[in-house]
């Protein structure tokens, strides 16, 4: 409360780090492009090597922006869920939203054999995948909101969300069992997550979705702070619990659902970043935490993506593996050091 200045400095440093990491992410990739050429191109110049220019503008820059959106959106929805449920193990996907997206993707990929024979061409494209995943996560979100209106206890909602996840996972297993190896592999690749397949147009759609989620989250800052005391206290402080709960769930649904639809189910960022931010900033105040998780999420996702693309090699590791490999130790470290409360 007394130290806005120190926070301001931290935010300036964080933003600078974000810009540097963003630049680094663009500079590194399977094709080695000299830094001067990249700088020249980013600053608006044209390159003699059109292939490089194409890579920079149609692959690396959209990918870097996607990573920023994915990282910050997931981290933000993780923060929303941890505060709403007052549970340190909650993440963006506890409401079953990503399971819904997975189910949509599974239906399209593994159930499409019959459809393909019906229409005579394959229905599986990046766009159709994004659409069915969105539908899947939206349906689950709708179910969760309907149930949220009926249950009084937020903790019940958490368990119901987990149950939705289990049901979706079970249906995906059944679908997997009956599908051939090629389709299964395709689904597994989707579930690895990727930030590299978005066109500028898709990026535009994702940006709008994330922006709406962000605005709803910012509008929830005050109720989120009150919820730190518990629901009864929040209510006694004049918070309209039902309204705030909807607002937070819809924000999470848009962020997590939209991101999963375009980039696949990306693990751990949403769980780990809010913890990391709380420890580093040593505060529970959402006016500080919210912008901080957005920036940290973006930085961490850019770093993960930079590692995943294995600079100067033709291989690309699944991004989901990298986020977990980096994220899991963070969570373990947080749970082991007991100097501070986790939540």
């Amino acid at each position: 409360m007394d130290k806005p200045k120190t926070y301001r400095n931290s935010f300036i440093i964080l933003l600078l780090v974000l810009v540097v990491i963003w630049g680094m992410n663009i500079c590194l990739g399977s094709v080695s492009i000299p830094f001067s050429e990249i700088l020249h191109s980013v600053l608006g110049g044209t390159l003699e090597n059109t292939a490089w220019e194409y890579i920079i503008w149609n692959y690396r820059i959209p990918k870097a922006f996607t990573a920023v959106l994915v990282g910050s959106g997931l981290a933000l929805s993780g923060l929303l869920m941890q505060t709403l449920f007052r549970n340190p193990l909650a993440g963006p996907f506890v409401l079953g939203i990503s399971s819904g997206a997975s189910l949509g993707a599974a239906f399209l990929i593994m159930g499409s054999a019959t459809l393909t024979s019906l229409f005579g061409f394959s229905l599986i494209t990046d766009v159709s995948l994004a659409i069915v995943s969105s539908i899947g996560s939206f349906l689950v979100l709708l179910a969760v909101i309907t149930i949220a209106a009926k249950v009084k206890d937020t903790m019940t909602l958490l368990i119901i969300g987990l149950m939705f996840g289990s049901i979706s996972a079970a249906i995906v297993s059944v679908l997997s069992y009956f599908s051939d190896a090629e389709k299964l592999q395709q689904f597994v690749y989707w579930s690895f997550g990727s930030v590299g397949n978005l066109s500028w147009q898709q990026l535009g759609i994702l940006s709008i979705v994330v922006l709406i989620g962000l605005v709803l989250s910012v509008l929830s800052i005050k109720p989120l702070n009150a919820l730190l005391l518990g629901e009864n206290y929040a209510k006694s402080l004049g918070v309209n619990l039902v309204h705030s709960r909807y607002q937070i769930i819809i924000a999470t649904g848009l962020l997590a659902g939209g991101i999963t639809a375009f980039a696949g189910p990306i693990a751990f960022i949403g769980l780990a970043v809010p913890h990391l931010t709380r420890q580093i900033f040593n505060t529970t105040e959402h006016r500080i935490l919210l912008p901080a998780v957005v920036i940290y999420g973006a930085i961490l996702m850019l770093i993960c993506d930079t590692i995943a693309q294995l600079p100067n090699s033709a291989e690309v590791l699944p991004i989901n593996a990298i986020t977990s490999i980096l994220g899991a130790p963070v969570v373990i470290w947080l749970l082991v050091r007991k100097k501070k409360m986790v939540f």
Partner: protein, 238 residues
Amino acid sequence: MIAKNINFGIEPGELAAIVGINGIGKSTLLRTLGSTQPVLSGCLVVKDKPIVSYSPLELSAEISLVLTEPVASKNLSVQELIALGRQPYTNWLGTLSANDKEKIKEAIISLELEDLQHKKCFELSDGQLQRVMIARALAQDTSIILLDEPTTHLDLYHKVQILKLLRNIAHTTKKTVLFTSHEIEMAIQLCDKMVLLDGKNNYFGKPCELIEQKAFESLFPSDTVSFDPKTGSFRIKK
């Protein structure tokens, strides 16, 4: 068992206790008053206006709560927690005005929390945390403060300390302070009014009046515990 036919009214500047045996509905009554649970039957009126006609925000400027449930995030600092009491008055982002900061400071001073204000809640003892929760309610600057068993888990000294603080708050700030308690003897000594839930008569009045009406005599089975009206205390029968 939930007590029926409860009628009482408390004036500004009064410290009042709701006492009674376990399970009689003390906390239910208090939580109903605090609107954390719906009214089962009857009517609650604050400042001549039924409680149900208050919006959540209007009510938050009239009634503040100190509940038995633990604070969800023990990572809050004392100052942050007390500052949350100003939420009914802050803008959409919760920015504290100079007046808000003044009220927070006053609450911290009146509960003697100056040395603890930068500590985190998980570092505090039960008694300290209870004082912080009362400070938060005080910072909310409502006409009524409701407390559910504020002295549970505290030793005798801290029980007395909390109750004297509450008495002081009621008398100096002219707020109405109502709490539930099992400390009948202390309540008799410190409270201005008492609600005694016994399931039958549900007495209400000044402690001395209740003693005169022999309200306490039948509270517990007489073969185990009896009430001594001269000392205002209970005696255990051996």
